[in-house]
């Protein structure tokens, strides 16, 4: 028997109302002192990635946000009771620190697409036809390095712009930028106070008007999926991998 884990939370003794879980299973609470895990008891060894299951996972996580801010688990987290117990006991401090960080907060996401018009000469080489494989490889490598450098610069610029527009609303931020020769894709994840969702939307709406050359999509509020993974912090803060 295994447990399918939806999220970890603090101070949850009972579920007021929970939707059905993945594959139509019922959702239960497993307590570890003051920490709780929302789980379904499962016999299968794996869950199919279907629209229905993915949405069911999200709906269960979403349902608990009315009571508290949880740390959502990634889809497909299937463990034995013993494994979950071990995980919670060895990561207790990190889990509690993470829960404190997200308490009363929610996640908002901004996606941006900018189409690059014209050719950036720095990426191009004049006579690429007829080059030997070694030279072509090195040129490709050079393009990638230039693109990576440009992505880092974009990331800094974007972060500065978003901070200028959203200011104190941003409590935590994660930004990623990926570009090709024709398009720049950027994604910013923000952790904000739940009470600030409307302010966030209003300020983003104003900011969007200033940048007609970029296509934006703002979504949220979400449970803090992007801020839930404690593994990196755990190894850094506690020296345990």
């Amino acid at each position: 028997m295994k447990l399918y884990v939806y999220c970890l939370a603090e101070g949850v003794d009972r579920l007021h109302k929970s939707p059905r879980g993945v594959a139509g299973t019922s959702v239960q609470i497993v307590k570890f002192e003051d920490l709780s895990a929302l789980v379904s008891v499962c016999r299968s060894e794996a869950f199919r990635v279907t629209r229905k299951n993915a949405l069911a996972h999200h709906e269960v996580v979403q349902s608990i946000t009315k009571q508290t801010t949880p740390l959502p688990a990634r889809f497909g987290t299937l463990v034995t009771v013993q494994q979950l117990q071990n995980y919670v006991s060895t990561h207790r401090l990190a889990i509690k620190a993470k829960l404190a960080q997200v308490r009363g907060r929610t996640e908002m996401n901004v996606r941006m697409i900018e189409t690059i018009t014209g050719t950036d000469a720095s990426y191009e080489s004049k006579n690429e036809n007829g080059l030997g494989p070694g030279t072509a490889f090195l040129l490709e490598k050079r393009k990638k390095i230039l693109r990576d450098e440009a992505d880092v610069a974009q990331k800094k610029q974007l972060s500065a712009w978003l901070h200028e527009k959203l200011g104190e609303l941003i409590k935590e931020e994660k930004i990623s930028v990926v570009s090709s020769e024709t398009v720049i894709l950027a994604k910013a994840d923000h952790l904000i106070e739940r009470a600030d969702v409307q302010k966030y939307r209003t300020r983003m709406a104003r900011a969007i008007e200033e940048r007609p050359e970029i296509r934006f999509m703002v979504s949220g509020p979400w449970p803090p999926y992007s801020f839930a993974n404690i593994e990196l912090e755990f190894s850094r803060q506690f020296g345990v991998t």
């Binding site: 869950f47 995980y87 969007i208 970029i214």
Partner: protein, 73 residues
């Protein structure tokens, strides 16, 4: 779906599809990883593809939607 359906955009997008993609992105690509115990099974290829490449997929879907809208205007 839930209240994340409230999507604010520079232009009007097809909210239902994008909400689903956004949900898949969050559920499949983010969240707490407990001891590497992620077990999923292939159900249909497009969703797996979306799961692995959701950022690009979302953007491509979005661009496609915008292109179609512009063509019909």
């Amino acid at each position: 779906m839930s209240d994340f359906d409230q999507i604010l955009v520079g232009e009007e997008w097809e909210n239902t599809d994008l909400s689903l993609l956004e949900t898949l992105d969050h559920v499949l690509n983010r969240g707490l990883v407990i001891a590497g115990e992620i077990t999923i099974a292939v159900a249909d290829i497009d969703l797996i593809f979306v799961g692995l490449n959701v950022m690009v997929s979302s953007v491509e879907t979005a661009q496609e939607v915008l292109r179609k809208r512009q063509m019909t205007e």
